[in-house]
Symmetry: C2
Subunit: 415 residues, 2 copies
Amino acid sequence: MLKGNLIYGQSGGPTSVINASAAGVFLEALAHKERIEKVYGAHHGIVGILEEDFFDIGEESRTELLFLKQTPSSILGSCRYKLADVEEDESDYKRILEVFQKYNIRYFLYNGGNDSMDTCSKISKYLRKQNYECMVIGVPKTIDNDLMHTDHCPGYGSAARYIATTVMEIYRDATVYDANQITIIEIMGRNAGWLTAASTLATLKGGGPDLIYLPERVFDIERVMIDITRVLGQKGKVIICLSEGVKTADGKFLPELNDELLVDAFGHKQMGGAAETLGKIVKRKIPTKIRTIELSLMQRCSAHLASVCDIEDSFLAGSEAVRAALAGKTDIMIAFARPEFGVYRTEIIEVPLDKVANAEKKVPDSWIKRDNTGMEKEFIDYVLPLIAGRPDIVLDEDSLPRFAKLKLVQAGRKE
Amino acid sequence: MLKGNLIYGQSGGPTSVINASAAGVFLEALAHKERIEKVYGAHHGIVGILEEDFFDIGEESRTELLFLKQTPSSILGSCRYKLADVEEDESDYKRILEVFQKYNIRYFLYNGGNDSMDTCSKISKYLRKQNYECMVIGVPKTIDNDLMHTDHCPGYGSAARYIATTVMEIYRDATVYDANQITIIEIMGRNAGWLTAASTLATLKGGGPDLIYLPERVFDIERVMIDITRVLGQKGKVIICLSEGVKTADGKFLPELNDELLVDAFGHKQMGGAAETLGKIVKRKIPTKIRTIELSLMQRCSAHLASVCDIEDSFLAGSEAVRAALAGKTDIMIAFARPEFGVYRTEIIEVPLDKVANAEKKVPDSWIKRDNTGMEKEFIDYVLPLIAGRPDIVLDEDSLPRFAKLKLVQAGRKE
């Protein structure tokens, strides 16, 4: 039976709940002293492994580890480091093997999105080729919800709950005056529109976007101007939810159009965001008050609006990853299935890492309205279980969030 | 004893809790049938009065009126209508008197900020001069917290709690990578820095802005660049909270500088925000990743992060306004005092309307750090009681906010 140490790292853009997965990993791993002697947390993901920079999680209190379930962003620090293909440059791989041997790492768990699963997959293949026995498990994470072969991704449900709630609130504010107004809300999602789609829940609840544009469909500016003019004529107020990643027919992101329009005094082109660019385009044609809003980092770090379903799924993804590793499984990512019938409940499955690495799942075309202005019921049925549940978040004595206070003790560096 | 009808209107920028004041007014007024026959809500503030466009609040259920305590923005619609001085143009005043006589309005309650208190004060003086008996009471409201002669303003505590919580969360996200990053967060407040100051609570809790700039002090760009460079050198990450209203020594708002820098392809000047402009200025001198974030409408409509203190103060301001009117008081605004010693508790006072109209309360100079980079303890002691308490918000079956569902029945128009 494989015995040794475990290392866990966080990678890519943070979420409100990636630390719930960390809690799942840590608490489960610490409960298996007979198989796992040391539990390490890599500082800044794979970079911490390459630099032998990790924390000894055995030094943390169980209470504080549980507080990770309500602490946003990546407690260990994150990275955007991409491993070269092993054929091109083996040095990082050699270094990883060296570090794993030195610290007797037999369990490697990596928490991230497509790129991180690629990293995970490459390391897994390399270690196997070198006959170094180590269970490599991917733990999914991304607010973008774009990982293949899983019903949904930890991180998405909370971001979706934030977007639905916030857009409900913004709608109330943006329609309050007795004057025409166009409000353009920019939501994350470079290639997949899952997050932007969640804004449809505000409309479902009686006040939300009139127009929703996802990157899955071509952003036809002329068509969009017709949509806006129509709604403005009907209601005097237009709420637009726009994915940052929408592209025109010739494949340009909106800020790239802006790029053509704006130069500063030094002749430098200015980028700006998708909503800002659309606002400028609309402003030229429709002389109406326009407000642009970016949900920015808030949509991925607002732990106070996380969903219980998402926190528990994230925690479970972490603890299941440890259990799978202990059961001798490797080269897989923990994933979620959806029961075909009846009430939604969480169902864990495992998928081979190379099936998820670098692939992207888009919103199904049939879930987007034919006229490209909103979402169909299939999407609403899909998303509602994922945003379910208000977490019972502990606040401090000043009614502010109480985040985990980890000691993050540097693991003794071995010579 | 004065008998008649009551009309209440909402004016100026909405807040998370102005509807709690509406609930206070409505529930108290409806409980005094012996003195107040009809309770009206003016559609879009004073505009609704001028246009005889109001709702009959007697038609609403008590349960839904209570839901106003968790419903952001102005349920009756708002306006930014400014009354001319009566010496210049009497027509609006004549019209108001006409409408009040027609509907036997003997109680006029107006909910808003400085401008609205000016409206309220002018109407009060006019009605008195015309010998029309009507109790005129101002109900304070503004996230900006800039009304004079009151310890604080309903709306501020909730916005401050939103800002503190959100900046705590953003800090976690904005410091997650192993790379230098400057994050600039723009917060509302054109002339007073109360809202931006609240970001200091995140720093108090262990992760927040390194640099806070309020409009009370000159925004010296050279000095700011020195501040940023210093923090970047020390920590590699800089979090800046910036009031939208900061001005340079020659009295220019930051977007006015931007104005000079940027022209579009048509030669039109582009405004942009304060954070965005600062970001561009910093970018030219420091080649580091810069992210700018505007808390935008969310800071004034995020009812899900309201404070209990603020909701209850707002409700009380409304119900006290009715009680004051019934006690024969007029030409006053309901205000708040702070006990000089001991634990904070809400204490209602009354101030003459013309003392608050058009005046602005700034953050005391001694509460701002001498080096102009943050807040002193006096501010923290001031703000903490105002953000206290997490409201027990009712959610719907999908874990989304349950806003008040008012019927808003048009009051029968009298011929």
